[in-house]
Symmetry: C2
Subunit: 393 residues, 2 copies
């Protein structure tokens, strides 16, 4: 938990139930410019049959009404003005006419409470106004302002350390034509930032047991959670799971998941902190992030994320799933003359990061489904807007 | 347009088509640790009937293969290693055994191109990789890294000035028990920030022609667009439309819209810049922001926003629309034992900002619909997650 100024609180998560310290509005107020009246006095009033009330005062802003309103009387009042004792409604100025002799002509009847903002009708003192776990939206900033709260207690941003492993990798800043730019760290750090976390860069380490181990130890020391990419499969250089098990207890809990294309994902806990071991292929790593890291961050942030928008559309061609595995198909959804159509992105594998750029959504094929035929209506989770095809297809 | 470092580019909008300056990968590379081979040499290989190839070299990272591969030969190679001339596939190390005499036993056949990442297969040099108008997502940061681009040209954040009018209003910082805290500015500035704009605070001015006018002039001078709240209805203090018309041409284009509860919304253009005149009631102002300001910002940012997630649910009670007007009903959607249920938030008007806190979505009733009956299935636009009711209702 930490306290932040209200102007920096957008999209942060409320750390404890916010009990309203005041009523909003704090008094009964006029909700319109016009005349405070006793509603009963106006019954039957129309333009043709107006009611005449005696004007006995004037309420401006920042003024407490000095007089109580009696039967047959009216007091001029501005929006936000404090309602005088005795009055129970406001006639809008548009439906009135002030006569020279000090009478007000009322041309429309009002019912009790009409055009009055009652004490506490927006926010009642002592009630929970913003619940623990609420993501602070723009309207919630308005609530803080209404309550005069200049700061608010929010969940501290989880620090999540990100490590890339691989002797073939370099940072883009020190690029070498013969090595490969590490894409997983920028993707992971961006995804963490997007979800309201504080990414911590652990850099790149080559595939060496002691180097990976000491960097992971550092991550566990400085962060709330650690993400490590690559080295998690079953080849001779895939040493990350062994290293994690050497760090403490209970170690690796899961190694291998029934998700395509993210099978070699591993989940571990070391002395109460989570390490997620993601595949090195960028598409696999990103999909495993969505499936496993995102829900874990939801736990750390003690909030639920808003789901992605979904859209129903027809498949342009057959797509195959893998029985027993959940398959993430990268697709492009377009609005055509024939309605919404799903085009699976043609890719040659989990290494093709650009497939996540060409795609605007995921078609997730459940474990028990072999695939969908051409023309089948499916639901796609969108991460970019639907494309518009002028000419249809 | 402006250029920003890649690490600050998340959620910014690409300003011009990004043409890839390089191939990714830049050369044919091994996609697995193993042996570079001629695929044809491995045909028929199984554990029971292995094929023996002569080991003629070793490719590590950052090494150009010195020799060309001939028929019957294999070269040891690491993931990311450059494919030797002549080789067209890689056999994973798991399916091989190095024999003492310098031969490699191949126990699984590969087809041509297997386990090879081909030059440009992810990103092809000279093609459009990130289109103009793309919101930069985490995976797009990976693309920038893969291309070695440390910065990117994005659309400058639109500066949108926000002015509140009303003699009854005070800033929360200078609160007075008798005045009313301005909630519209914090809400609008938060909403602008959320959509990738730079809000500019024009403060509060009382309902005086010359004061509002000079502040609006300042807004037009320093910002790309101006939002002004309150004073836009038809009462005697509603002077904002007249003031806007006095600022230049063409002035007010629209005044009054068929949306509940945001009727007194006004849209104006002064010398090519947009002024949006929003109602003073916070719920009306926020809904008018969503209906009118959001699409205008989409134009300024030259991008399309991702739509809100929608959910289908059954109405817990009848809701009434207004024929001829689009009605925004604030609702709470909950998952119950009976499925998803929509509870309209009971509110007494457009002044009740807390209704936007209790609600998690909008049920938008179209112009031609009078209302929906209890039990009717409707679609709700969510701005907070669906609630979960343990016990159902």
């Amino acid at each position: 938990m930490e306290t932040v100024p209200a102007q920096n609180a957008l999209n942060r998560i409320i750390a404890e139930d916010l009990i309203s310290p005041a009523n909003v509005p704090p008094f009964d107020r006029a909700a319109m410019d016009g005349y405070a009246v006793i509603a009963e006095d106006t019954y039957g009033a129309t333009t043709a049959t107006p009611v005449f009330l005696r004007m006995v005062g004037n309420v401006q802003m920042e003024m407490k009404p000095e007089i109580n309103l009696g039967k047959g009387e009216a007091i001029s009042i501005v929006t936000g003005g404090l309602m005088p004792q005795g009055a129970d409604a406001v006639v809008m100025v548009e439906y009135t006419r002030l006569r020279e002799e000090g009478n007000v002509e009322i041309c429309s009847e009002v019912h009790p409470a009409e055009n009055v903002a009652h004490v506490g009708e927006d926010i009642q003192q002592g009630t929970v106004t913003l619940k623990k776990g609420t993501r602070i939206l723009p309207q919630d900033l308005g609530i803080l302002a209404a309550l005069g709260l200049a700061e608010v207690a929010v969940i501290r941003k989880p620090r999540v350390a990100v490590l890339s492993t691989g002797s073939e990798l370099v940072d883009q800043s020190s690029k070498s034509a013969l090595k490969i730019a590490d894409v997983n760290r920028p993707v992971m750090m961006g995804a963490l930032q997007d979800l309201g976390c504080e990414p911590v860069d652990l850099g790149i380490v080559p595939d060496e047991f002691s180097l990976i181990r000491s960097r992971l130890e550092e991550g566990l020391r400085i962060a709330d959670m650690v993400i490590v990419t690559a080295g998690t499969s079953v080849g001779p250089r895939d040493i990350v799971p062994k290293i994690i098990d050497s760090l403490g207890k209970p170690g690796m809990l899961v190694h291998g998941v029934a998700i395509r294309p993210s099978m070699p994902t591993g989940l571990a806990v070391i002395d109460g902190k989570v390490i997620v071991s993601l595949p090195g292929y960028p598409v696999s790593a990103y999909i495993a992030f969505l499936e496993f890291v995102r829900p874990l961050l939801s736990e750390l942030l003690e909030t639920e994320f808003l789901p992605r928008p979904k859209v129903k559309a027809r498949l342009s061609r057959r797509v195959a799933g893998v029985l027993g595995s959940r398959t993430y198909v990268r697709v492009r959804v377009a609005e055509t003359r024939k309605g919404y159509v799903v085009y699976p992105v043609r890719t040659s594998g989990a290494g093709i990061l650009s497939s996540l750029v060409q795609a605007n959504g995921f078609l997730i094929i459940p474990e028990q489904i072999e695939g969908y035929e051409e023309g089948h209506e499916v639901e796609v989770e969108l991460f970019r807007p639907v494309e518009h095809e002028e000419n249809g297809r």
